[in-house]
């Protein structure tokens, strides 16, 4: 499937921002399920490309021309194929065991541990099957509800709340898998939804677990599915903090920040010949 993606992020300030620096993780990686045809990142400042330890293509964005509006546009085309959610190639330089360590957002506290315990047996019998059961159980437990949580919400909070967005589902899934000694990682990226006619207000996030002999298997817990050709990943990491599309600081613009995001993912149909 050929997907055409436009991802706009705009920050608006009441007072001018004099300097800012951000790490952007907005460029899709290449692997068995996705091939980048063309891709650009545009921003009002200077971009320096680097690769982080997880193998993500990052840009450091510096803006030092004072302004009250900053718009970042990532856009391009990606050719995807369905690998039933399995990615055999390990693209980063981080050892798989790294994905066992808990982070503040995926800490296996008592709530998480209690939730994980009943799945231990299934996991020890068959990891992949266990992971499917965990994914289903999480989705049954946590309603999809937008705007009820934010990026600071931890897996444990989402479990206790019983509601959240795709990011919360991913964090809970990761926390539970790690508690059961399955390496699990966070993926941020884009999702093509066939019947959506308006751009989405945010990107998408899901998770992947490492199954020895198979590779990384993607789980979109929120949508009760494994990865398909509708998914384009841009960054992987331990959790939202290390895989988020952008993170930075600014100097100036002390007043409130208004953020608007639009993500447009369309299938690009080849003209009928």
């Amino acid at each position: 499937m050929r997907l055409s993606i436009v991802h706009r992020t705009a920050y608006q300030y009441d007072a001018a921002v004099s300097f800012g620096i951000q790490y952007l993780r907005l460029t899709p990686y290449a692997n068995a399920s996705q091939r980048v045809i063309r891709w650009t990142v545009e921003a009002p400042g200077k971009l320096t490309r680097w690769t982080d330890a997880f193998g993500n293509s990052c840009d450091t964005l510096i803006f030092d021309d004072p302004g009250d509006r900053i718009e970042i546009v990532a856009a391009g085309e990606v050719e995807t194929s369905d690998t039933t959610g399995v990615l055999p190639d390990e693209q980063g330089g981080v050892p798989v065991e790294t994905y066992l360590r808990p982070t503040p957002l995926t800490d296996a506290d008592e709530t998480v541990a209690d939730f994980a315990a009943p799945h231990a047996e299934a996991v020890s019998r068959d990891r992949l099957d266990g992971a499917h059961r965990i994914a289903t159980a999480i989705r049954d437990r946590i309603d999809y509800r937008e705007g009820a949580t934010d990026v600071q919400s931890s897996a444990s909070e989402a479990l206790r709340n019983g509601y959240g967005v795709c990011q919360d589902h991913a964090h809970v899934f990761i926390a539970v898998c790690r508690a059961l000694h399955i390496p699990a990682r966070y993926v941020s990226g884009y999702l093509h939804v066939a019947d959506r006619d308006a751009p989405a207000p945010a990107g998408h996030a899901w998770a992947a677990v490492w199954i020895e002999g198979l590779g990384w298997v993607s789980f979109d817990v929120a949508n009760r599915t494994c990865g398909t050709e509708c998914y384009v990943g841009t960054a992987v990491g331990l959790d939202y903090e290390s895989a988020c599309p952008m993170r930075g600081i600014r100097e100036g613009g002390e007043s409130a920040e208004r953020l608007s995001v639009s993500v447009d993912v369309r299938e690009k149909r080849r003209p009928a010949s």
Binding site: D52, T98, R101
Partner: protein, 470 residues
Amino acid sequence: MTRFFDEMSLPDGEVRGAYRALAQWLEDTPVERLKSKRDEAEMLFRRLGITFLVYGQEGGAERLIPFDIIPRIFSAREWEHLSAGLIQRVRALNMFVHDIYHEREIIRAGALPAETLLANALIEPHMHGLDVPRDVYVHVAGIDIVRVAEDRFYVLEDNLRSPSGVSYMLENRNTMMRLFPDLFASVDVQAVEHYPQELLRNLRATAPAGVDDPTVVVLTPGSYNSAYFEHAFLADQMGVELVEGQDLTVRDGQVLMRTIEGLKRVDVIYRRINDEFMDPLVFRPDSTLGVPGVLSVCRGGRVTLANAFGTGFADDKSIYPFVPDVIRFYLSEEPILENVETYVLRKPDDLAYTLEHLPDLVVKEVHGSGGYGMLVGPMSTAGEREAYRARILDCPENFIAQPTLALSHCPTFVDEGIAPRHVDLRPYVLSGETVSVVPCGLTRVALTEGSLVVNSSQGGGTKDTWVLDS
């Protein structure tokens, strides 16, 4: 009762060779003169402002670390043994850090368990696959040593993140030379004043590839930090700029310093700020101490941090028991310095043994430092042991235990006169062009009679440390 090794005298009371001149001098010097010299020393330290801030006290009180005027002395032969062991250990630890962030051969060879190691929160994922100049991660190491017998030196702890105290080592010598020029005239003590130049040479040697005349800076959290004096001292002695995070900025894939002549590139940052505060774009977002974007410059190979990110796992108390194996694995040599036998309470057998032998053991928190939160068995009351036992059982993996070491003692000038007090030693090992150690160290002394806790935060003092020429 334990027999403690006496640094100055042999069991029959005869003075060791290295201490002979000092012993004679002490005998010739009236106590009144020693007292007046001690007061003079204190005045010098106060005037120079060699103070440290005591956290937790109101207003962050500035305090002097007590200085003892009687030096601790090593013969050339003793030092040769000790320094060879230190250099060996730090070489191996540097190779260990490199290996963990690259091929992980030590894990493949089965010498260390993969999961406990790689899931260790002190391993910095962002260091994986990153090459650093000359493969040096630990530019400055402070290795804590205790002596229990003639040729038996134990390593108590490796400090591989941002060890402090070297300014005291240098100022102690400086003060001693001012106070007792006559003493130095009669004894050949190896010089130590070149430490800052050695540090600078090693820092420059690890500048990013292609930089001819590297700019080195010392990065401090600021003038409110307890070790600010030391940061300013080292920058001053090396003749480099002392900067705070706000003085540095990242542009065009480089770290730049804000000067009165505009932005100037910085190549090597000797930083005295912990990893988690260094880059708010990856670590703690609320940190105002660090340099936003510095990680991207590190990954691009355009700046050297000393010490590198992610060295903390290698001095973690949970890794400590493996260090002798680390030395054997990378160097195919037997360790010259001994490790203290360590019970890892995560292991049920070790836990059981420890709980049975609490009165004989020292129990420490895995992530603790500065002598806080530990139980010194032989010095503890039954009540303290019971309280500690509960803490251990609550979370055994947070603790390790070691036998109580019979720390050597050294004559010390205290209120009662000259009396033995227990000492340890922190030498500073530098890596860069080579691995080296200046012939000195910071000797810490427990000023309370019988005490084995030498930490300055717990009422310890310091002494000048002499290594004799021959």
